[in-house]
């Protein structure tokens, strides 16, 4: 089963890369962008076949390794 995870920076954390991407987009003529925040995307292929168990395991992975909860939030996408 494949489970996806999206990690984003929390609202108050400075994102210098997102800022530069925003500036660059602006310079390219995309002038209506309000803000860009950069994040991370993971696809985790697990042997677990039970939906809920798999999600719980991935949640543990997020807390222990994939995200740093001081600065990041994680969102687990429901497997299809």
């Amino acid at each position: 089963m494949k489970i996806s995870v999206i990690i984003t920076l929390k609202k108050d954390v400075l994102d210098p890369q997102g800022k530069i991407i925003h500036q660059t987009l602006d310079g390219m003529g995309f002038n209506d962008v309000n803000e860009v925040r950069q994040g991370k995307y993971f696809e985790i292929d697990t042997k677990e076949t039970d939906n809920d168990k798999a999600k719980a395991k991935v949640e543990e992975m997020c807390k222990k390794l994939l995200a740093n909860l001081v600065i990041e939030n994680y969102k687990i996408i429901d497997p299809k």
Binding site: V13, L14, P16, Q17, N68, V70, I71
Partner: protein, 227 residues
């Protein structure tokens, strides 16, 4: 005094640290990250470098390596653990010291000498250092110290800030902040002050003719405090 320097895949300041520790009297051992047991040590150092290529987040992979459980136990039982640069990033990922290290504010890799002001001397690292300001070297891409407001309050209440970026006279101002760190923080302690994480490299300032000697001051003082 016995010290151990942990080598992770991608560490590159481990041998410099070995040279520095030996120069000032430590009997140092190099310890491989995949070992489970720490040799008997009075000081454990997590050196600078790019452990695991800075994958995921700087220090995140190294913080889960086999030797780190022993290092964490050692620190929790009061052992002296010092993380320099990438070692600091590893320390924040273990949670031994609070906060995180973000990309530098202006997205530049910074490699230069800086001045830092010692904020607290009631600890074994800086007690008796005969100077308020030290000149150290920094070389990092992710040294922008960040923590939540609650953490910052706790850090300040417990006097956990070790050193702040400043000018040569010890003035702590925005213009002397190289990387955007909150409150110009260059290094912090855990609550008990046996764990120190800092971005500057004292091991690069131990030779009069090559660099400067403020690192020498630091190490001579450190070994005397541990005796």
């Amino acid at each position: 005094m016995k010290s151990s320097v942990i080598t992770f895949p991608g560490s590159n300041c481990d041998r410099d640290m070995d040279v520095a520790l030996k120069k000032f009297g430590f009997k140092n051992k190099m310890v491989w990250h995949a070992d489970a047991e720490l040799p008997k040590s009075d000081l454990v150092v997590l050196p600078g470098g790019f452990s695991y290529g800075d994958y995921l987040r700087c220090g995140s992979m190294a913080s889960k390596s086999k030797i780190m459980q022993s290092v964490i136990n050692f620190a929790n039982s009061g052992g002296m653990v010092m993380g320099i640069c990438n070692g600091f990033q590893i320390l924040v990922e273990t949670g031994l010291v609070p906060g995180v290290l973000l990309r530098n504010k202006y997205l530049e890799f910074i490699c230069k000498n800086v001045f830092v002001k010692i904020n607290d001397k009631k600890n074994k690292y800086f007690k008796n250092v005969n100077s308020e300001v030290l000149e150290f070297h920094i070389a990092h891409n992710e040294g922008n110290y960040f923590c939540t407001n609650d953490q910052l309050k706790e850090i300040e209440d417990n006097n956990q800030i070790a050193i702040n970026y400043c000018d040569e006279n010890g003035k702590i101002e925005d213009q002397f902040n190289p990387n955007g760190s909150i409150k110009n923080i260059a290094g912090i302690f855990n609550k008990e002050k046996n764990v120190l994480g800092m971005m500057p490299h004292p091991e690069r300032m131990i030779d009069k003719s090559l660099s400067g000697e403020d690192g020498s001051l630091f190490f001579i003082n450190l070994i005397n405090n541990l005796k």
